[in-house]
Each structure stands twice: as C-alpha cells, then as structure tokens.
C-alpha cells in the first residue's frame, strides 16, 4: 500500500513590498541586500489575513485537487506555524471547522520554527500509513515578522501550503517513498514568551545551523533511500533567503535546474513554515508522472525533515483545478509602500492600543 499526497494547494497574500522600499526607510544599501540575500521583494499579509485564513484557502485548494473526497473523512489535521494567531487556542480547530472536517478529527498545532509545516506533513503521512485515519491534512503557514530595520525584515513573509495525505491508488498525486529527520539542539533563532519579534544568532544561523542540519538530513535520506541527487527531477529546500538553498543544493550535489522551480524566495520572501512546502506546490504544478522529488525543510532550533516523492499519473488532471503557485506569486500581486506595509503588519500603534 502506497501512502502519499492526494491533494495539494497553496495560498499567498497579494501584497508585495520591494527590498528598495524597506532599505530606503532605514538608510540601508538595497543592492547589497538584493545581492547578498538574493531577494527582490516579499509578500505582505493584509490586516485581515493571518496563518489561519491563508491556511483555510490553501486547504480548500487542496480539496479541489483531491478528487471529491468528503471533508468528513479527514481524520486528522495538523497546522505548523510560528505565527499562530492565538497563544492559547488552536488554529487547527478553525481550519477544520471551515472545511467541514469536524467533529471526528484529531487536530493539533505544531511549532518548530520554519519546519513546523513539514512536521505536520510527516505526522499526517505517518497516521495514514499506520491505518489510523483515512485522510490527514498537513499544513505549513506563517505570517512571520522581522523587527523594523533588522535583516529579517527584508525576508519575513507570509503564505501557506496544504497537503492531504491518503492511500487511495486512484487519487494518488505523489507517493511518499522515504522520509528522514535530522535534529540537534542548536539555538540559532528564537523568540521568547511575550516578545513580538524573534532574535537570531547572525552568522551562527549559517554553517553550524542551516547548512549542517540540512546536509545531515539530505545525506541521511539519500543513504536511507539508496538514491543519488541525479536520481531526482526536482529538489526543494528551506529558503530563508535566495542564497542558502542554492548553496546547500550545490553542496549536496543538486543542480540549478533541479532546485530553481521550487526556489520561490527571491519573489516571495521567507514564508517560514510555508517555505519548502510552498516550493513543493510550485514543483507539483509543473511535474510530470514519474518525476522524483526531493524535499528538505529546516527549522531553527534546529532540525530538518526530508522526503522522497514520486509523481503519479493523476497529477496532470489536477494541476489546473486550483490557482498555481507561480501564478499567485508572479501575476496576482499588489505592490505596497513602506507606510502601508507598516500599517498592515501592525508596526504602527493606534490610539487605544
């Protein structure tokens, strides 16, 4: 029995802000940010968008591609994010209620910096494989914040991706062939209770954190699956900026042709828990039956979840049933200036607040 993705969907806010627009406010050198981080712009959620609203839309798109499954058959729904709107009260209950998966549904909110989304996918996959539920949904979504003027402000973005896991052969879009997790206690990025913005370890977030962990998962999965980078048509990695995923891909032996379709960050920014899952949706939008996909997330703290997928014949029937990720990224957009961005991200304190 093969278990895998039977429905997938993405959702992005429409607003974008360019790197130049942020740099001019803080007197920073935009060309050096654009070159150093390989970022051109990032997505900006509106005042009425949050991780829950983006995730509901992503799951609805996944259901559209899932061949008419009954939402009541979804036995588990997990949402990974570091920007759950409530400190205490689940995001998953609202998402499950909105899609009609209640009440016979196990739900939990996951947190693990930027890999909370792949955790949700991993657990959803595992429950279906164990035979405990018919379908399970794994979601990665965030509306991440960076402190004004900090390097993170140029990249912290918003978006959500959702995957319905199942085992029906006639609904299968991509089988999950192998998984591997790599995790150590590495404090490269954190946010303490009651703090509005996260803190990070600067350059420490690179070699000992992102690169060591990602490569640990990549090498572990390749060995476990007995596969080589050239066995894959596509690859997607966590993408905190444009440079990191390109560099780690090359270090691991993958080519630009393999990773570029799933590398959304230059135009989208870092969507944290949504980052590698959204990259996977962009790949599934163009993948052909038989294509093998490598995916590796990264979450500060630090850990990576890696997956091997094989695309199935039904993919061709569903790619155009819901908005494609690249269309949302490149065409359905509204540019905003820093003032509107500051208002949208609640960086301006109103009377009574």
């Amino acid at each position: 029995m093969s278990v895998g993705i039977v429905g997938y969907g993405a959702h992005l806010p429409r607003r974008r802000i360019k790197v130049e627009e942020i740099a001019k406010v803080w007197g920073a050198d935009a060309p050096s940010y654009k070159k150093g981080l390989e970022l051109l712009q990032k997505s900006v959620p509106a005042l009425d968008e949050d991780t829950i609203t983006l995730s509901v839309e992503a799951v609805r798109n996944a259901l559209t591609r899932a061949g008419g499954i009954d939402p009541a058959d979804i036995g588990a729904l997990y949402i990974g994010s570091e920007s759950h709107p409530y400190a205490v009260k689940p995001s998953g209950t609202i998402v499950a209620e909105a899609i009609g998966a209640v009440p016979s549904c196990h739900t939990a909110d996951f947190e693990f910096a930027c890999k909370a989304g792949s955790e949700a996918m991993f657990v959803a996959y595992g429950l279906v494989k164990a035979g405990l539920v018919k379908y399970a949904v794994g979601i990665g979504g965030d509306t991440s914040q960076g402190a004004p003027g900090d390097a993170l402000e140029y990249s912290a973005a918003a978006g959500s991706a959702a995957f319905i896991m199942g085992d029906d052969p006639d609904k299968m879009l991509a089988t999950v062939d192998e998984t591997y997790a790599f995790m150590t206690d590495t404090p490269d990025f954190w946010r303490r209770e009651h703090q509005f913005y996260p803190s990070h370890g600067g350059r420490f977030t690179g070699e000992p954190a992102y690169f060591r962990t990602t490569l640990g998962a990549v090498n572990g999965l390749l060995e476990k699956a007995n596969l080589k980078p050239e066995d894959f048509r596509w690859a997607v990695f966590h993408q905190p900026n444009g440079k990191f995923p390109a560099r780690v891909a090359k270090m691991a032996g993958f080519t630009e042709e393999q990773y570029d379709v799933g590398r959304l960050v230059p135009l989208l920014g870092n969507t944290y828990s949504g980052a590698s899952p959204l990259g996977l949706t962009a790949i599934l939008d163009v993948a052909q039956p038989g294509d093998r996909i490598f995916m590796c997330s990264y979450g500060s703290g630090a850990g990576s979840d890696a997956f091997v997928y094989t695309v199935q014949d039904r993919i061709r029937e569903v790619q155009n049933l819901a908005p494609k990720t690249r269309w949302m990224l490149e065409e359905n957009t509204i540019q905003v200036e820093y003032g509107e961005y500051a208002k949208m991200r609640r960086k301006i304190r109103l009377a009574g607040e």
Partner: protein
C-alpha cells in the same frame, strides 16, 4: 457580537451553509425557518460555492471601533452564483475600481476581533476574481 452568538453562526460564517426550500427550491442565506415564497417549512442545507457578482457597494470612511485602522473600506451586496445574496467587505482592490457587476470570489478572512484580548471572528470577504 459576543463569541457565543457568533459561534452559533459558524456553519454560515465559516462554511457558507445556506438552505434550499424543499417546496419551491428558493435559496436562503442565512437559512430561514419559513420560506417567504411558499411558506414551506422543510429545507435542505447546502454549502454555497465561493463565486459571486457585486450588486451594489458603498465606502465606509467612519468605521466602528472594531474596524479602526481599516477605513476607508468597501462593503457590498454580493449575489452568489448559488442564488442567495450576502453583505460583506470587498477587499484587495482599489476602491475606485469596484464596479456593479464585477465578478468576485469569497475568501476566508478575519472580520474583527473583540479587543486585543478577545476572540478573533472569522468569515468571508469578497476579492476580485482574477484567473
């Protein structure tokens, strides 16, 4: 709206559940107890799709406390493709570009929050249909 009252309306606000009169097939959103066309009292529940058309709209420039910081914003009556009409905000479009007859899609959005420590209310707002 107190959270208990809004909780009772989740089938409508979250899932767009409407009703269809079993006697004359007239549709209602929100659902009614008695059909105003045939006085029937039997209804079937159905979930509306997300497509609709702007029937009319206005711009709110002096909002209530719950919408501080959002004005100016548009509120419109949307004729849903499945029959009923509903009133909601029209967002993600410059106000001067909103037109009667414009095709829209409903998206799940935050409607308002009960202060900074209260419940966040969710529902649907209309965005321009772009394909």
């Amino acid at each position: 709206m107190p959270s208990a009252r809004s909780w009772r309306a989740y089938p409508q606000t979250y899932r767009l559940e409407a009703s269809r009169c079993s006697g004359c097939q007239k549709t209602f959103f929100p659902p009614r107890q008695v059909c105003n066309a045939c006085s029937g009292r039997e209804f079937e529940t159905f979930r509306m799709g997300y497509g609709g058309t702007v029937v009319t709209h206005t711009v709110i420039r002096t909002p209530g406390d719950q919408f501080q910081g959002e004005a100016p914003f548009a509120v419109g009556i949307i004729a849903m493709d499945d029959g009923p009409k509903m009133t909601t905000q029209i967002v993600d479009v410059p106000l001067e570009e909103i037109r009667i007859g414009m095709k829209v899609k409903l998206e799940f959005r935050r409607m308002y929050a009960e202060g900074h420590d209260g419940v966040i209310e969710y529902g649907h707002k209309a965005v321009p249909l772009r394909e």
